[in-house]
């Protein structure tokens, strides 16, 4: 498949779970495409399938039906090792509950992806210092996650997600556990990175303030794409 600037493509993707004897259709024939540099919100009520879509989009979960591509990589036909390598090289992930490695410092967490990719130390340190400066964590490099506030931890997670300049950053409710001020500042940071590096962002949220700032909003209802709307910046 020729990507033509397409970063993510889902085609008729369904994800069906069995909960006891009940079948739950978390995603129902979802088709969507994300292009380079898009800043997209995935909106919808709780249980609408936002997190499942994000997981399926990066191969953390397998679709029951349908096809998924990141650039030219067909995720359905890849094994666990290949998917792990793909995520390492192409995707940045920001989770709702920070999810930093507790035994690593802020700086080490931020450079984790670069380290795993084998980026040389000098280059790695330079990039990480710039990113930590940008996310406002200068001076906190040596602190471990337990010594940082929720907002600071989320900033480290953002720094980790973008340090290696991935093609696609997925964020699952990135502002859900943050106060309004911290959430707004984080959102601005993501917008800035999107603008400066043309990084494609896809973030799930049900926060209207966050939805308002997205360039495009995909509304999910009961696992189906209900609306897909562009918004003026």
């Amino acid at each position: 498949m020729n990507s033509n600037g397409i970063i993510l493509r889902l085609e008729d993707v369904s994800r069906i779970y069995l909960q006891g004897e009940e079948t739950v259709r978390a995603l129902d024939k979802v088709t969507l495409t994300l292009k380079k540099g898009e800043f997209v919100a995935l909106a919808g009520p709780s249980g609408s399938g936002k997190t499942t879509l994000l997981n399926v989009a990066v191969g953390l979960d397998r679709p029951t039906e349908g096809q998924v591509w990141i650039r030219d990589h067909h995720l359905n036909s890849m094994g666990a090792h290949e998917l792990a390598r793909l995520r390492l090289n192409e995707v940045g992930f920001i989770f709702q509950s920070y999810n930093l490695v507790p035994v690593l410092s802020a700086e080490e967490n931020a450079e984790l992806i670069l380290l795993l990719r084998g980026v040389p130390r000098t280059e790695r340190k330079k990039v990480v210092h710039q990113i930590l400066e940008k996310v406002g964590l200068r001076g906190l490099e040596t602190r471990r996650p337990a010594e940082l506030s929720g907002g600071q931890q989320q900033r480290v997670a953002v720094a980790r997600a973008i340090a290696a300049e991935p093609a696609l950053v997925l964020a699952d409710e990135p502002t859900a556990n943050l106060d309004s001020e911290t959430a707004l500042s984080l959102l601005k940071l993501m917008e800035e990175l999107n603008r400066e590096h043309e990084t494609t962002f896809l973030f799930s949220t049900h926060d209207p303030r966050v939805i308002k700032r997205a360039h495009r909003v995909i509304y999910l209802v009961d696992g189906r794409v209900d609306r897909d709307e562009a918004q003026s910046e």
């Binding site: 666990a80 090792h81 995520r87 989770f95 690593l104 080490e108 992806i113 795993l116």
Partner: protein, 415 residues
């Protein structure tokens, strides 16, 4: 891999008390293993040394079939003795042979005014035996034989008691002479009385000068045995093997062939020790498995995160293996320190078994010193360290596999 190593190392110290307890448990297991091996090997070494010095020697050269069939007539004549001695001189160039002792053996009867007893008469070279064997140390009365001792004997304590003899008193020895159906007799005087500690031996043993024995038994210059004593038992088998090749008309036997019951005892004892070590390590194994498995199960969310970030299953697998390797390395270091320290103490001061037992200690017909000195070879130490490493790593495979397979993304959502 560096970051995986770093995370693995730091993970150990997330719960330092648990890690330290695990390390201490494995270390103590290793230390106990080294102490047991040292005492076991030391005890066996002492048994072998006692047996060869009180008995046959590390290697013996005899007339073919003498071991199985005995007999006064199966002796090495002058020519055979000379050939054997020449070969021994060759071996002395290659191996640490300290003594080559010529001996004669004869069963017979000893009589005094108070009675008679069946005895084993051993003709020895007094000067060499005094230096080489431990008969001299076992004397409880009188003096040992010397170059001037003609027609003088050393009696086992039991023989002396049975015949009611004291040092300086006379007795008559009777035995069949070589090449003759006639019974010979010889009047001798008691020069000393010894106590080997072995009831059987003390009840029958009589030592007499080789020249006296040769003349009494009509052996000429013949002997029944050349016993080789070395500074350690290590090369015994090699020397015996060479002897079998070079002296096909004679039998050249190592101590393990002349004392198979001692070999059997050591094997059984080793077997018991192995079983004990296995039980010990099974207990340790479950501690290690518990620690590593708990550590992995507790970190389900972290492994899911690393999985999501792109850490391959192989790297997650190795992360846990590295943790196990660190634990094994720390344990090996500490365990070696404790175990080797204890070994050095026991090597110098010994373990006094007489604290637990009274009387002489004898096993498989061998009396040995009740103070056991630890003897630990480099091979034993290395194999023990390797065992600890291997065991820890093998046990780590279970949690490592679990870590490699973990990646439950639903755990990531939990705040």
């Amino acid at each position: 891999m560096l970051i995986v190593l770093k995370i693995a190392w730091r993970n150990l110290w997330r719960k330092p008390l648990r890690t330290l307890l695990t390390v201490v448990t494995i270390s103590l297991g290793l230390a106990v293993l080294l102490i047991f091996l040292g005492i076991g090997d030391g005890g066996h070494y002492q048994m072998i040394e006692s047996a060869v010095r009180m008995g046959a020697g590390h290697v013996v050269i005899q007339k073919r079939d003498y071991y199985a069939r005995g007999g006064i007539d199966r002796f090495l004549d002058r020519t055979e003795k000379k050939r054997a001695q020449e070969w021994v001189r060759e071996m002395e160039e290659l191996f640490p042979i300290q003594y080559a002792l010529s001996r004669t053996y004869a069963s017979g009867l000893a009589s005094s005014a108070d009675g008679s007893a069946g005895v084993l008469m051993i003709g020895i070279q007094p000067k060499s035996e005094r230096e080489a064997s431990r008969f001299d140390d076992k004397l409880i009365q009188g003096e040992f034989l010397d170059a001037t001792s003609h027609n003088q004997v050393i009696l086992g304590e039991g023989v002396a008691r049975k015949l009611a003899l004291e040092v300086g008193e006379k007795l008559v020895l009777m035995a069949q002479a070589a090449g003759s159906p006639e019974i010979q007799s010889l009047l001798v005087r008691v020069k000393g009385i010894l106590r080997t500690g072995l009831e059987d031996s003390d009840q029958t043993l009589i030592l007499l000068p080789l020249a006296t024995a040769q003349s009494f038994l009509n052996l000429g210059e013949g002997i029944h045995q050349i016993a080789l004593l070395m500074d350690n038992s290590g090369p015994s088998f090699e020397v015996a093997a060479k002897g079998k090749e070079r002296l096909p008309s004679m039998e050249v036997l190592s101590w393990s062939e002349t004392m198979p019951e001692l070999v059997d005892f050591i094997r059984i004892d080793d077997g018991g020790n192995y079983i004990m070590n296995i039980v010990l390590f099974l207990l340790i194994a479950f501690t290690v498995l518990n620690t590593l498995l708990m550590s992995v199960l507790e970190r389900g969310r972290e492994f899911a995160l690393l999985h999501a970030l792109g850490l391959t299953p192989n790297k997650r697998f190795f992360m846990v293996l590295f943790e196990a390797t660190f634990i094994a390395a720390l344990s090996a270091l500490l365990g070696f320190g404790i175990g080797y320290g204890a070994h050095l103490y026991l090597h110098i001061h010994g373990l006094p078994l007489d604290l637990f037992y009274s009387g002489d200690l004898s096993v498989a017909g061998v009396t040995f010193d009740p103070v056991i000195y630890s003897d630990l070879s480099a091979a034993r130490i290395l194999s023990s360290l390797a065992l600890v490493f291997l065991l820890t790593l093998v046990l780590a495979l279970v949690p490592a596999r679990r870590a490699a397979r973990s990646g439950d993304i639903h755990l990531l959502g939990r705040a």
